[in-house]
Amino acid sequence: MSFLISILEQGLIYGILGLGVYITYKILDFPDLTVDGSFPLGAAVTALLITKGVNPFVTLPIAFLVGMCAGAVTGLIHVKAKVRDLLSGIIMMTALWSVNLYIAGTSNVPLFSQNSIFKGNALVEALPKGIKPYATLLIIFVIAAVSKVLLDLYLKTKSGLLLRGVGDNDVLVTSLAKDQGNVKILGLAISNGLVALAGCIFAQEERLFEISMGTGSMVIGLASVIIGTSLLKKLTFIKATLAVFAGSIIYKACVAVALAKFDPKAKNFITAILFLVVLVLSMDRKAKVKKNA
């Protein structure tokens, strides 16, 4: 049981990161590598604030805002300085490594003795006894759900529709007399805000900031988005934002299976095979749809 809880906890945290990657990769068609830096950025900001005695819940919006700034800078580099999309992300990711070290002060900040959104606050204490073992999962779930709903609502606003327009048909956006560059910057900001929020939660759940925790997070986000959206493509009543969470949980489940059952050296290989299986399954669906059409 706790094995599954752990998968769900991890899956939901990285699902929030997945939402961010969904905006850039699927909506804006922008492969944004800033993620590898903004995930630990959220964690570094959280570590700094919590050790300074700031209320853990306040760190959530602050991490989001700081992440937004990082994303906006990537956007500015791309739009204003006309650097290629992939390269702008790489530049920011590289710079953020040092920024994170400066913010956190050192490469490893333990938060064991500090309060967090999961421990030592009135909300957790107020939960009934039967629910307490699931408090962490519950809190992560609520934050994930709120993030998802807010993003869904945002994408329906005028600004959200423009964002989707830039990815699908940028000529249309220009013809509406809107600057697509600004829309892109906003999209990148929101995306990295979500990623930093995930970093903030991860740091509090692990009670630790570690500089290397962002390495490879872009890949996890991408895998979650692709697995989720392609696997659940046929179920049209499921929104893509929900599919991202499903993808992220499947990703973490694959890693957990590979960890539990196989030689440590083979772990990454097994994880890769499991992805392939998932993707083949979803491809089959597409073929079937085509045949029927």
Binding site: F3, Q10, P110, L208, E210, K261, L274, L281
Partner: protein, 337 residues
Amino acid sequence: MKKRFVAGLLGVALVAGLAVGCQKQETKEEGKESYEIGISQFAEHGSLDNCREGFLAGLKKEGIVEGENLTVQYKNGQADMGVVSQISDGFVSGKVDMVCAIATPSAQSAYNAAMDTDIPVVYTAVTDPVAAELSDADGNGVGEVTGTSDQLPVKEQLEMIREILPKAKTIGIMYTTSEANSVAAIEEYKELAPEFDFEIKEVGVNNTSEVALATETLLTGIDCVSNLTDNTVVASLPGILDKANAKNIPVFGSEIEQVKIGCLAAQGIDYIALGEQTGVMAAKILKGEEKASGIPFETISEPGFYVNLEVSKNLDIKISNELMDTAVESFESIEVK
């Protein structure tokens, strides 16, 4: 159709694997005389492997033998924090009798996962347990957690370098900015260097791909190199040694394995011995003789002097007889891996 069948079959296998994965974690053999431990190792790495080997040897010394009365689940995090965290959760949900964590991030993650349970965590290769918040300032664990530290004997190392190279002025050190252990060691080097009339030149890298370039920077304007236990740098040590040898710059190591592969000498740690020391501690806790919270963390009692004679011949550096007499082990040739 066939493809779909195969894919479906694989899908079922995935779900079954997950189910079995859970099940395996949930069931455990009963009986007090046999133990099940989980080993969470941060990365694939010679020194850390030695820790693990030593740890099991230490348990064996106390009569807890793998395959007889000990089941070991060994997991490697491959230096990925997300995976490390999943490993810790897996051990805790599988209710192992003890988690052995090798290297700082693994230890912190294991302690975090086991905090609210009665599963003890025994760590090794954690340089500064106090800074990692695994121990209070007096050396007592913050919970059911204890272990051994691999703090470098910096003072002894500087003393040794001064003795071998009386005229040397500047020591170059390469480290990874992400490794807290190394950063702490650099600080100590800087603090103690003036005492021995040395200057420290530090070069920081972020990952393995930067080591080659950084080596060139490191090797200009220095008299010798002193190497830490930095995971990234140690993994690239053969390349650094090559370039240093070409310039006739001696490289000092920090543990036995480094001297074996071509460092001139070291006042260093033997990770197998460190692991063994940890294993003996772990056995006491497993047998119920002591609680983890009752044992303060330990450091290796005495650093050993290791020297490689082939390197000293190549560089034409004489090691005094007095120093040679203190050597724990000397190597006649450079081991090629």
